[in-house]
């Protein structure tokens, strides 16, 4: 079954075709980073405008690059939430009406389920069950994943997401947009250990996180009289190390508590080199495995949506309702259920 996947939840327009037998056939991505850069953050209205301008061409190019015609597509999957309402509506209107006109089934997909399952698209996919660490600009969650749609939340951030803390701290250090990756690059040039930053909730004896205090600690350093801008790289390194240390410790604690030896890392922060190095080292020492999505699938993309939709279609799930353009800007992942066979 060939599934067309459409992702428009934030600032990337992604389209892909996943074949439940042959795997990923093609995927295309248009990033809006440059569009939002001069605004210092994503402007929702501009994001929606760009999605609708790009999406139809991206669909055509994605089909063409796999030498497919509209008639070859057997189903459509699109991100119905969570995300920016206006941006989600673009994907939902195009996807649902495409399905209606082509007379094929359309499934709404949860954006985070897409991220969570994306490491399964890699050459060496993990097997269920596993622990998932979902780290992005919007989320920091630890979950036990027993199968598609079978997720148990073990812990999450009580305030800022890890990626959000990176972005806000980058702003404090006067870095450009998007701040997170720039902060990570600056940290590579610095030496950690000079600034005493807290390790929030490291010893809280649960699997929750908190990152807003860490950002405040950085603010205190840069506001002090002793602050020298040339120390920014060292401060960035200390900040990154604090975040990585907490993420790593909690992920390992979750694996230990669940008795699972497989960890899956998904979401934009999963591309962070320092996080990967530390997780790789810590798991290797115990004989455990950690899986990441392919680097090009760490950001938002259509492939993960086509894939998650494909898994649900393959399990027999079909759209439950009459066709409608319906989005869920707030949609807790824990509301998901395993594929419902029609």
């Amino acid at each position: 079954m060939k599934v067309l996947g459409i992702e428009t939840s934030c600032d990337e327009t992604g389209v892909a075709v996943y074949d439940t037998e042959a795997g990923l056939l093609s995927h295309r991505l248009h990033s809006q980073i440059e569009l939002h850069a001069e605004y210092g953050g994503v402007v929702p209205e501009l994001a929606s405008r760009d999605h609708i301008r790009r999406l139809p061409l991206l669909i055509r190019q994605t089909l063409a690059s796999a030498a497919l015609e509209v008639g070859d597509i057997d189903g459509v999957a699109y991100t119905a939430g969570p995300g920016l309402a206006g941006a989600l509506l673009v994907g939902a209107s195009v996807a649902e009406s495409f399905g209606l006109a082509a007379d094929i089934p359309v499934l709404p997909v949860h954006h985070l389920e897409g991220h969570l399952l994306s490491p399964l698209l890699s050459a060496d996919p993990p097997a269920f069950p596993f622990i998932a660490l979902l780290v992005s600009g919007g989320h920091t969650q630890l979950m036990r994943v027993a199968g598609v749609g079978d997720y148990t939340l073990l812990g999450e951030s009580l305030d800022d997401a890890a990626g959000e803390a990176f972005d806000k701290t980058a702003k404090l250090l006067g870095l450009g947009y998007p701040g997170g990756p720039q902060l990570a690059r600056l940290a590579e040039q610095g030496q950690a250990g000079r600034f005493r930053l807290p390790r929030p909730m490291l010893h809280s004896h649960d699997l929750d996180f908190s990152f807003s205090g860490l950002k405040t600690a950085v603010l205190n350093v840069v506001s002090s009289e002793a602050w020298q801008p040339r120390d920014a790289a060292d401060l960035a390194a200390d900040f990154q190390q604090a975040v990585v240390e907490v993420l790593c410790a909690k992920a390992l604690a979750a694996m230990k508590a669940a008795g699972l030896k497989t960890l899956v890392v998904a979401g934009g922060v999963g591309a962070n080199r320092a996080l990967r190095l530390q997780l790789d080292a810590a798991t290797a020492k115990r004989g455990w495995r950690v899986h990441y999505p392919e680097p090009e699938l760490c950001t938002d993309n259509g492939a993960m949506i086509a894939f998650a939709g494909g898994l649900r279609f393959a399990a027999g799930e079909r759209p439950a309702q009459v066709p409608a353009v319906r989005v869920k800007p707030r949609w807790p992942l824990m509301e998901l259920r395993p594929p419902q066979v029609a």
Binding site: E38, Y39, G40, V43, E45, L46, S48, R49, I52, R53, L55, P56, L57, I59, R60, V70, G86, L89, V90, A92, S93, V94, A95, E96, S97, F98, G99, L100, A101, A102, D103, K171, V322, P323, A324, V325, R326, V327
Partner: protein, 229 residues
């Protein structure tokens, strides 16, 4: 010729199906329900006419100006149907569709753009033809200027800002109809001759007429206004 048309630029949205000379239309009631109901309504309209999406010649849609999210709903649905059915789309000026309801003569179509502003454009209506006299603009209601002539004023702007518009420009109007909104029926009627004339575009070329294009301040502009980065 079968043309499906969508008009969701304001609170009262509608869809229509033109088959030959016959137009059947359905209104989508309630602002929040447009997106919930539009596809079902399209499916029933097609089923009632005994045709499928691939039997359509084109999908026309009101491309604005109007509520941004509403414009994108019509555009996105038009694009999706066109891609799925392998047909073209035709964006139609929502204010021209509104003006066609005004009858013969000079028509000023003006809708409420919120924030004390109006979207407006002037048209010459002759039978089923609507020719623009000046293109759509967005200005404060209190700053709307109108060229000489006898105009029919039509649209929600006259309900939202009656005193401002009629107080300043009252003598220019031969009549006011504040209750009309852009409708899919007129979108279809304006589209039909253009579909025949081969003016459809591919879905990726379907552009929206937002008119209001300044929607956010850049970091530099915020700083210049004394704000934070």
């Amino acid at each position: 010729m079968n043309v499906l048309s969508l008009e969701t630029s304001c609170e009262q949205a509608s869809i229509a199906l033109l088959c030959g000379q016959d137009v059947r239309s359905v209104s989508l009631e309630g602002h929040s329900n447009h997106s919930e109901r539009i596809l079902q309504s399209i499916a029933s309209l097609l089923a009632d006419a005994g045709i499928r999406a691939r039997d359509l010649s084109a999908v026309a849609f009101g491309c604005g100006p109007g509520a941004f999210t509403g414009l994108r709903l019509a555009c996105g649905v038009a694009q999706g149907i066109a891609l799925g059915a392998g047909i073209g789309v035709l964006p139609i000026d929502s204010l021209a569709a509104l003006a066609l309801q005004g009858g013969e003569g000079k028509v000023l179509a003006a809708t409420d753009a919120r924030m004390e502003e109006v979207y407006f454009a002037g048209f010459q209506v002759r039978g089923s033809r609507v020719s623009p006299l000046f293109e759509a603009r967005c200005v404060p209601a209190a700053a709307l200027e109108l060229m000489e002539g006898e105009w029919l004023g039509i649209g929600s702007a006259f309900r939202a800002y009656p005193d401002v518009l009629q107080g300043r420009l009252g003598e220019r109007f031969r009549g006011i109809d504040a209750d009309k909104v852009p409708r899919a029926e007129e979108v279809a009627r304006l589209a039909a001759p253009r579909v025949l004339g081969g003016e459809c575009v591919s879905p990726e070329e379907a552009a929206l007429l937002y008119v209001r294009d300044k929607v956010a301040y850049t970091t530099a502009e915020r700083l210049a206004r004394g704000g934070k980065a």
